[in-house]
């Protein structure tokens, strides 16, 4: 079985779990967790996209027999995306802490000053 397809399938599953979490949870912290799951699933999808059957890590060295490498570009993209995901999560949590200090709750049903 092709490992790449497995990674893509599991990643898509995680993406769906993450979206479900963001849409249905009422607690701000759980929404942020949903985001992290979504993000991680997406990273798995992208790593899976770069997989080549029978490929090894793309490092050239002397006496190399196997000339099939996995695609390193999605891996580089995922590294960048992890950093961006860190920034997004950090900012979300920072705002969540401030919201807790002002409203005294994490429940989004209680946080509704803006309407119309």
């Amino acid at each position: 079985m092709d490992l790449g397809i497995v990674a893509v399938a599991v990643g898509f599953l995680l993406v769906l779990v993450g979206i479900w979490g963001i849409l249905t949870r009422k607690n701000i912290i759980k929404i942020v967790i949903g985001f992290s799951v979504f993000d991680t699933g997406l990273h798995m999808v992208m790593v899976g996209i770069g997989y080549v059957k029978g490929g090894t890590a793309p490092i050239l060295s002397k006496g190399l027999k196997n000339n099939i490498f996995v695609d390193p570009l999605p891996q580089a993209m995922v590294l960048t995306a992890i950093v961006i995901g860190l920034a997004t999560t950090a900012l979300l949590l920072a705002v969540a802490i401030r919201i807790y200090k002002k409203y005294g709750t994490f429940d989004i049903r209680e946080i509704k000053k803006l309407k119309g």
């Binding site: 701000i28 509704k112 803006l114």
Partner: protein
């Protein structure tokens, strides 16, 4: 010339870094430094527009294409990019200059200017990037700094608006990343020009339709088109006023509308179904946005809803152009529609930026945003009142002002293309816009029926010089931009941008050189 292209990203990034560190010791430094840097960049953009040598392609690190595979990251400045970059930097400079007085009452000024410069760097990067993944990275820089800036006041409303904006914006960013992954899977390249070349050699599969739909909804959310608009009124009305004017004036265009144009004209082949969807979304935004706006009493919230409606005009113009091209219709009509859309994009940046700065000036003096409690400010604040009047006439399409001409071009183009219903709707929306701005003028600046300001303990006086300067500059631009209907000006400023979209098939040849 090539060296100027990466400077558009490097200079604001450096400014953000230096400003946040030296700003700890000297507040005056970070204030003046950001304005000076952005003034330089705005001047540079105007110079490049007048230079007329497009496209300028810069390859990061000097990696040239090998075996017809582009290796390095491309930064592309063509007619459309330079047009958008000029808007971003001119409005950015004026907002930063306005902030000199306005942000004095907040703490952490150096961080404000640092985030401001980061946002400019991100938007310039999105506009100049010729590489999809790089576009995503710059988009996140611009988006994350805008999330932080919306929450800058850290009151209840700001935090709630920022959280809502972050959740919706974050979902759309992740969908953009997903679709970039899928595009890479299908074409094995990330360069926009190269993707368009590869796609033109392949058949048109279901994968691309799926990717197009994800991208349209994700960037539609960034551009606040109607089914995805819920975050905009909260975020744009809660942010500090110079930031509202940046968000409404520039951000939704640079990371929303611009990317939609670039992707659906230059990257994917133009198809009738997508053009139809874009036109419908634009029309719905135009109509529903204005209907939601007219009942508002919070002045900034009203302006925010008008942003949705006016962006609907831009998308409508672009969509009609796409429809005409996809049906192999008359290219002159397509050119007219796209020109109207792009012209309205610039005009909206100017007058909506000005209106938010006016609302900020009113809030700066009185501390009130509710129009029911305002009134009679025209005597005490003549500059704010007169600039606000010119912006209101501009947005509602009164003849000598720029908004009239761009709306007229869009209406004529849609009528010529045979979509009479759309042109009637555009006229109708323009009339409701006029009504709603008559309400703003009457209840904010004229009607003096409420209690006297002196009884409430508020002295009405004109705002300080930096705020006045920005408002007067933008009010002058409101008139000067109508010059763009004249052929000699139009050919220099507007037509290069229109031609990039119109001759969409030669884009990849121009950039890659083969």
């Amino acid at each position: 010339m090539e060296i100027f292209v990466p400077l558009y990203v490097a200079i604001p990034l450096g400014c953000a870094f230096i400003g946040s560190i030296i700003g700890i010791f000297s507040k005056a430094f970070s204030r003046l430094f950001t304005s000076l840097v952005l003034a330089f960049m705005a001047g540079l953009s105007v110079y490049l527009i007048l230079l007329q040598k497009f496209p300028i392609v810069y390859t990061v690190g000097g990696w040239k294409a090998f075996n017809r595979v582009p290796i390095g990251i491309y930064m592309v400045m063509d007619g459309l990019s330079v047009y958008l970059v000029t808007i971003v930097n001119v409005i950015g400079f004026l907002s930063a200059f306005y902030s000199i007085s306005y942000i004095k009452r907040f703490t952490g000024e150096n961080y404000y200017y640092s985030l401001f410069s980061l946002m400019i760097a991100g938007m310039n990067g999105v506009i100049l990037s010729g590489d999809l993944f790089n576009l995503y990275v710059f988009l996140e820089i611009a988006a994350i700094s805008s999330y932080a800036l919306v929450a800058f006041g850290i009151e209840k409303e700001q935090l709630e608006a920022s959280f809502k904006y972050q959740v919706l914006g974050g979902i759309s960013s992740l969908f953009i990343l997903l679709s970039i992954g899928l595009i890479y899977w299908y074409t094995s390249t990330l360069n926009i020009a190269d993707i368009s070349r590869v796609l033109s050699h392949k058949s048109f599969p279901k994968t691309i339709v799926f990717v197009e739909i994800i991208l349209l909804s994700a960037f539609g959310l960034k551009a606040a088109m109607i089914p995805f608009h819920a975050w905009l009124p909260d975020a744009h009305s809660s942010a500090p006023s110079p930031i509202s004017s940046m968000l409404s004036g520039v951000l939704i265009k640079a990371i929303g509308a611009y990317v939609i144009m670039r992707l659906f004209f230059n990257l994917f082949a133009i198809s009738y179904s997508i053009a139809y969807v874009i036109t419908v979304i634009g029309t719905i935004s135009m109509v529903v946005g204005v209907l939601l706006a007219i009942g508002q009493w919070d002045i900034k919230r009203l302006l925010a809803y008008h942003s949705i409606s006016q962006m609907g005009y831009v998308i409508l113009g672009i969509g009609i152009g796409m429809l005409v091209i996809s049906k192999n219709g008359n290219m002159d009509i397509a050119s007219l529609a796209i020109a109207g859309g792009l012209f309205h994009l610039f005009n909206h940046a100017v007058f909506k930026g000005l209106l938010f700065l006016n609302a900020g000036a009113v809030e700066y003096v009185t501390g009130i945003r509710d129009m029911k409690r305002l009134g009679g400010l025209a005597g005490g604040m003549p500059i704010t009142a007169s600039t606000s009047m010119s912006a209101s006439m501009s947005i509602s399409g009164i003849p000598p002002f720029n908004g009239f001409f761009s709306k007229l071009i869009i209406i004529i183009a849609s009528a010529k293309a045979g979509y009479y219903v759309l042109s009637i709707l555009a006229v109708f929306v323009s009339m409701i816009t006029l009504a709603s701005f008559l309400k703003v003028q009457r209840f904010t600046f004229f009607n003096n029926s409420g209690e006297k300001w002196s009884e409430r303990g508020i002295t009405i006086k004109e705002v300080p010089f930096p705020m006045c300067f920005s408002m007067i500059f933008l009010a002058v631009l409101c008139i000067v931009l109508s010059l763009m209907v004249f052929p000699s000006v139009r050919d220099v400023v507007l037509m290069p941008a229109v031609n990039v979209l119109l001759k969409s098939s030669v884009y990849s040849t121009n950039i890659l050189g083969y």
